[in-house]
Amino acid sequence: MVTWIAGMLMLTVKLSLVLGVLLFLAAYLVWAERKFLGRLQVRYGPNRAGKFGLLQPIADSIKMITKEDIVPTAADPVLFMLAPAVVAITALLMFAVVPFGPAVVLWGREIPMVITDINVGLLYVFALSSLGVYGVALGGWASNSKFALLGGIRGAAQMISYELSLGLSLVPVVMMARSFSLVDIVAAQADYPFIIFQPVAFIIFFISAVAESKRIPFDLPEAENELGAGFHMEYSGMRFGLFFIGEYVHMQVFGALLAVFFLGGWHGPLLPPVIWLLIKIIVISLFMIWMRGTLPRLRYDQLMTFGWKVLIPAALVNIVVTGAFILI
């Protein structure tokens, strides 16, 4: 019983740390995005709150919490409240299967550096990423605004289309690691990261991941100059904040998944494993921000054409070729 309580304490501390780091990084990714994007557009970005605007995330969160929580009279109140929570919760839960290091021994007990090592971890990620579609579609529908509705159905169609190529691009990874468990997939990359053998799958997964997190050049659901703000147009205060948290946690989770599936997860020389995973996440996120500063938005037909006519056939061919190579 005593060991159980001690373990429970340890587990609570571990989970709080994971959650804290995720939210902290999400808050500072917003700062990094505004600062970096500002620099790319030859302006300063936030520079009033604290040195280099470093206190900006804190100021933003206070503002979001104390702002009025407006629910339009025409909106569906229950779904209107649920939609942002669905987006934020699915994004945060997705991190549960990401391993961030080898097991650590503390006071004679082994502490696994992963929240849960279920043997269908990869399918769990897909399940949650599909559930995330509900947040966008319901958020757009429940607002009872035409712009939001357009953003919501655009978002739903885009996310389910790119989920196919997202899933198919990971079949070769499963074939090479012979497991759905993310811990095993990382362990299989102890010598070489999978990107060396699977550059095509890496590119397909990266493009689909950017489309799944609805970032430029795939930000059709919230295209500012045609839809106002798209599916989250009617949201204010903390509910808008939850959509925001969801988006930036999503970015980190896809950074972490990209690292786990193709870049060797926490494997790396010299530095501790957790630091390596964090470095990979931050580099991928900064790359996504850089893309936002560089690329224009696609047209909707180009977006769907690219997903269905390029990425899905490429992923299917990649599966067949990889299968032949593994069997030779």
Binding site: M8, A75, A88, E110, P112, S145, K146, I160, G167
Partner: protein, 135 residues
């Protein structure tokens, strides 16, 4: 793929379903607390302008529960088909070495049929967006 080990389902020392459930409870509680605090601290001064749906300052006409364009519905159906096929491919991928060449030829044939389906909806114009050319 390893079988499910159910030796100590409630042990907090293992990376099992228990720790995932606890994580899920913590995440949900955090979001609920955030929503509660904001509804408690936020000011409440409703006015007709605030509660009206925003449509660039123009007073909205009619409801927004519009009928969806058909292409979105088609995409949903295509997604269902291809997602189920994806599930079949995944179940082959996990055992691809044990199934050997016969398994490879079977899944290749399966993927070939899948690509034929994709070509069919492509040729039929199911993937076309925007205004259709009047014939």
């Amino acid at each position: 793929m390893q079988p499910i080990v159910n030796a100590a389902p409630l042990s907090p020392w293992e990376p099992n379903i228990f720790s995932m459930t606890l994580y899920g409870v913590m995440v949900t509680a955090l979001i609920a607390v955030l929503l509660f605090i904001s509804s408690w601290l936020g000011q409440k001064k409703p006015s007709p302008e605030k509660l009206r749906v925003y449509e660039s300052g123009i007073i909205p006409t009619g409801t927004a529960r519009l009928r969806y364009p058909v292409p979105f519905y088609l995409v949903a159906i295509f997604f269902l088909i291809f997602d189920v096929e994806g599930a079949f491919i995944f179940s082959w991928a996990i055992a691809c070495e044990n199934l050997g060449w016969s398994g490879w030829f079977q899944i290749t044939f399966f993927i070939f049929v899948l690509v034929l389906g994709l070509v069919y909806i492509w040729v039929k114009g199911g993937l076309e967006w925007g205004p259709q050319a009047k014939s």
